[in-house]
Amino acid sequence: MRAQAAVARGLLLALVLLALFPVPAQAVEIKRVVSPGGIEAWLVTDHSVPVVALEAAFAGGAATDPEGKSGLANLTASLLDEGAGPYDSQAYQTRIEDLASSIRFSASQDNLTATVKTLSENVEAAFELLRLGLTEPRFDPDPVARVRSSILVSLARKAESPNSIASRVWWKHAFGTHPYARPSDGTPEGVAAVTVDDMRRFVKERIARDVLTVAVVGDITPERLAPLLDATFGTLPAKAAPANIPEATAAGGGATLLVEKPIPQSVVAFGHAGIKREDPDWYAALITNYILGGGGFTSRLTTEVREKRGLAYGVYSYLAPLEHAGVLSAGSPPRTAASPNRSTSSARNGAGCATRGRPKPSSRAPRPILPARSRCNSIRPTGSPRFSSTCSRRGSASTTSTAATR
């Protein structure tokens, strides 16, 4: 299974990196746990903190959205924790909060992913909520209307965000008619067109055991986990419907796409075909990308653009190893007046797109585990009062001001 292989390779990479550290041998031990019912999970047991984290990925995400229903996977994922089994939306959320846990569902191009974080004493109860979300989502009319409306507003916001504009124009140009050309959170028309029947069909066809990959970390033994795997995932259908996503290559190199906007600062997004995880050169490419633009302050892009020339606050590159295409993506917000020349020179080997915005997080990897309450803050505009008083040398650290306060 490719998703499993990808996770396996990710874990292997973590091990390799740990092994590279010339430190006392204390590598993380990954155990393969197989439940009595045959469900496999990869487990790292660590009893030092009474916390357990789980990630369950189902191969087949937004790229499987039917034509005209772009946004189906994302809308479905966003509704799995909005009421399931005997619990309506508020009851389900109350149950999660009383367990001091977080359960999130999200959809990327390639996967639907469930992320659980819980205290070890509440593992059984939290996993039961996860099971309900995956197997008995209710799709009650109120939450469906509310979440749909939230996503539509979020899409409208992205349509005004120069960073999103640049990214979307780039992916559309590079992937043409392939599903990767569409944003994983969908289009306004697609999201508006999705019906409850579409979402029920998605759950039935996509959330199945043969496309499931499970990783668990924390204060839990293999003996406790094994029966829990059956209790949580055992009733899922055995097989998912075929996804039939064709392989693709980022194309259209050499083009520069310019989107004009009356804004103080320009954003540049650029890139070209990359390589996939199973490529024998994957690790060489990872290191190369680190040198080019993935290594933060030490990267060549940062040295040239920021350190030597003071042209931008941030510049980055990353490898996006999608299931059906590899991509090398990069970008920067250079100064408004300087951008046209500079952007063409740095993008001369790939398709470039210029508008304005902030540095992107450095990868399209799975989203970090967020605390339960962040779900309500997720649609909050940036620059909110609580984050206002911190400036960091690199943009991503601004939210540490909240962590500092308690």
Binding site: K117, S150, S389, S401, T405
Partner: protein
């Protein structure tokens, strides 16, 4: 209380008791001080063979002289520009060559430098950090391009974000006199005028071991840290430090409203802020109760505001409350909401105000307070899951003049907050006659 409610409440209390033993485990932080005044905190954590190493300087944007806004943060950038033994721009590269990561940040109250690295490389980063505590060398050749970087940072963080611009202006309304009204990154016209001399003067005035806190978190013992700290930080002489002059806020008598409309705003937002005490500023007795209040009011999908505005009335897409007790002087308590498309911002405002009035007249209930406290105490268990998180908490507390016990006992103090205290705190802080309301609106492009 009706019988059913009593039963539910008893079950809840039982649930609390089940959660607490785990949540109440401590960080085990230890503390000592070097002869030159450097305070040191060690947080042992053997989970991975790595350490987080942080140095907190007790100086931030609020300490800047008039006309020099942004100098604290600018100097933070310049701390990477070389010493007698480390060439400009090499600091991060040296850390990276040893497999580490580094960064820095500035707030109104502190300036902080940090690295994460394999534990047997702790001495390597400590030597580098100690070196730049005393031996920074700045020239126009490195300072001038970095000023461009900071101006770019201002553009991307503030000028390019209508919400950030509005927030920046709203702070000048909530802080009438205190320097917290000035943005940490600085006003653009003052940033442009900063010079190498300004940076050197700032560095010489504030950067000294007796104005710093060293925090090391990770796979290391207190004895190991003591030996290394003595060796690398110990020889740096202390300085006579200037007094931190912090003016106090005058009495607030008027409410303020600000609004900003921009074609780049796709989602309107309404925010109301109140001046509030912190752990160390103003009526500090309310600091713990206000944290629980913020959670009850707007902490999650089951909070009062979310239930009322998003689920029941269906007029908001998102809503919440915030409170950050970690500032040296006064801070803000606030509520916010984003309207559902088609809902007028005035109607949303009325609905939030109705919730606030209900809160003030009826008070919070035992059950909702207990739920919030359970969740908040559990966060202490999650916090122990990281290296940098605890280091951050202890550094921030000590820089604020608080103690390691204050951090260790945070779950207990949250657990001890009573409903009466929450209601007293709410009545103390929430006063719409002196609040600041900031409204972000879309504007059709012409």
């Amino acid at each position: 209380m009706p019988r059913l409610a009593r039963t539910v409440f008893a079950a809840l209390l039982l649930a609390l008791l089940l959660v607490f033993p785990a949540a109440a485990q401590r960080f085990g932080a230890q503390q000592f001080k070097l002869a030159n005044g450097l305070e040191v905190v060690v947080i042992p954590n053997e989970r991975v063979p790595a350490v987080a190493h942080m140095v907190w300087y007790k100086v931030g944007a609020a300490d800047e002289p008039p006309g020099k806004s942004g100098i604290a943060h600018f100097l933070e950038h310049l701390m990477f520009k070389g010493t007698d033994s480390v060439a400009p721009g090499m600091f991060s590269k040296l850390v990276a060559q040893q497999g580490g990561r580094d960064n820095a940040f500035t707030t109104q109250d502190v300036t902080v430098y940090h690295q994460t690295i394999a534990s047997d490389r702790l001495e390597f980063v400590m030597k580098l950090e100690a070196d730049r505590m005393a031996n920074l060398r700045l020239t126009d050749a490195v300072v001038k391009p970095e000023l461009m970087v900071v101006l770019e940072e201002r553009r991307s963080r503030i000028d390019n974000e209508p919400a950030a611009l509005l927030n920046e202006q709203a702070r000048t309304a909530i802080f009438l006199h205190h320097p917290y009204r000035i943005p940490t990154i600085g006003w653009e016209q003052e940033l442009r005028g900063l010079t190498t001399e300004d940076a050197v003067a700032w560095y010489e005035r504030w950067y000294a071991p007796n104005n710093a806190i060293l925090v090391v978190s990770g796979d290391v013992t207190v004895d190991e840290v003591r030996a290394l700290a003595e060796k690398h930080y110990g020889p740096i002489p202390p300085k006579e430090l200037p007094k931190r002059v912090r003016v106090q806020e005058p009495k607030r008598v008027a409410a303020t409203r600000l609004s900003l409309a921009s074609p780049r705003v796709a989602q309107p937002n309404w925010t109301r802020s109140y001046l509030a005490p912190s752990y160390t500023g103003g009526e500090t007795r309310h600091a713990y109760a206000l944290q629980v209040l913020a959670d009850v009011l707007g902490g999650g999908a089951t909070s009062r505001l979310y239930r009322s505005l998003v689920v029941e009335q269906q007029i908001a897409l998102g809503t919440g409350a915030y409170y950050t007790p970690g500032s040296l002087d006064l801070t803000t308590f606030g509520v916010w909401a984003s309207p559902k498309p088609g809902v007028a911002i005035e109607d949303l405002e009325k609905a939030v105000e109705a919730e606030l009035r209900k809160l003030l007249s009826e008070g919070v209930g035992e059950e909702e307070a207990a739920r919030s406290k359970t969740r908040m105490r559990a966060e202490a268990a999650y916090a122990r899951d990281s290296l940098m998180g605890p280091a951050h908490q202890f550094g921030a507390a000590l820089a604020q003049g608080r103690t390691i016990e204050d951090v260790e006992q945070w779950p207990d103090r949250i657990g001890a907050v009573t409903v009466e205290e929450i209601n007293a705190a709410a009545r103390f802080v929430i006063d719409d006659k002196t609040a600041v309301t900031a409204i972000l609106l879309p504007e059709p492009s012409s």
